[in-house]
Symmetry: C2
Subunit: 255 residues, 2 copies
Amino acid sequence: MNTEKLILVVNDDGVTAPGIRALVEAMHGLGRVVVVAPDKPQSGMGHAITIGSPLRLESTDIIPGVEAYQCSGTPVDCVKLAVDKILHRHPDLCVSGVNHGSNSSINVIYSGTMSAAVEASIEGIPAIGFSLLDYAFEADFSAAKHYARELAIKVLANGLPEKTLLNVNFPKLPLSEIKGMRVCRQAQAKWVEEFEERLDPRGKKYYWMTGRFQNEDAGIDTDEWALANNFVSVVPVQFDLTAHHAMSHINQLLS
Amino acid sequence: MNTEKLILVVNDDGVTAPGIRALVEAMHGLGRVVVVAPDKPQSGMGHAITIGSPLRLESTDIIPGVEAYQCSGTPVDCVKLAVDKILHRHPDLCVSGVNHGSNSSINVIYSGTMSAAVEASIEGIPAIGFSLLDYAFEADFSAAKHYARELAIKVLANGLPEKTLLNVNFPKLPLSEIKGMRVCRQAQAKWVEEFEERLDPRGKKYYWMTGRFQNEDAGIDTDEWALANNFVSVVPVQFDLTAHHAMSHINQLLS
């Protein structure tokens, strides 16, 4: 079975999250599935890596019938360790998620789920990150599973353009109410932070991050529009951050 | 003095790092300088934010004569907290660094220094990240200070294009040997990880991340080329990750 496809499944909510089980189920029969996920929630870790401390990696039977490992590091660490120490080759596909909560628009940059997929793509592995607009532990992943499987089959068969991965978000809807997939751009949006200040029992201040999501983009070609209109949003993502369009402007600034 | 400029200085090496002192010195006289930096090294934190635990923020007199705060969070947390709880308005400029070590090419995505600058840019603040190709604690920041000041003056006077920040790297050279600044694109490069496996005193495995930087880009318009040829590299950076050039390809894939 040298032709069997190899599929790496990662996430940021940790190996015990229902979302990763849903994704494993969605990959059933498409190839050899290996799970390498954080041993604790790692939401909001962005593209963090572990430099100053060592990592642990342990086999786990938490997902019945599936080869799975839990890692003490970040989502990006999971991908790096999986390739070097478990798979010993590049998988044919890396799928990340299904995240409990949205990773649309600007959230892509804070997301551990998406950063794991970005890391795979940097390493030349076709990669897709999946997120469901429902934070609930008991969220319904059935529509997500349907589309994740469809996308995985297409990407396993056709690959993805070089240095490009996919950021896929699912509206919180049953499959029958979803109108299909829509290729979009990332909406221009941001979080407006308002830290909540409290006093600890010793009278010293501490702060909780709270935020308000602010969509500044009325475009109908964005992921926010697609999700609000009952579509699955599919955003092609790149990891080269060069602002090529600004080169001449910056040359002028420096001259 | 309503016209006085407000400059936020952040980093990822922590408030005690020599690099941030160099940057504070470089900003001297350009406006009111406020430092908000992590209370411990936060290298490799990427765009991580702190969601599940509260943050501490404390005034510190570690940099004589400068209003400075240390924060228990990530570099991105520092920017968010600074704007909401210390400055109470958007600064006119956010400078991050000077990082001890390169943040050229793909390193931009792992870098806490650059992620702090990216966060400022997301919030609409003109931002520049600075890094010196020298990890040493006693590194010579004099050339970095010279160019950081020159760039800060230009950006304070002229701003930056919308949603664009600068990633500036300095070669490890005295000022007299640097040929000037060069606007470049990020070189296509990656890290090839080789985790070192060890056994702890109880006989259980653990792993240290080690890596080899692999530049796959022979272009003479890249930051790697500029740095190798004694230039300061200036890369315009964007935070919209949409791979616009791949839209039609992905539409075809899904059809």
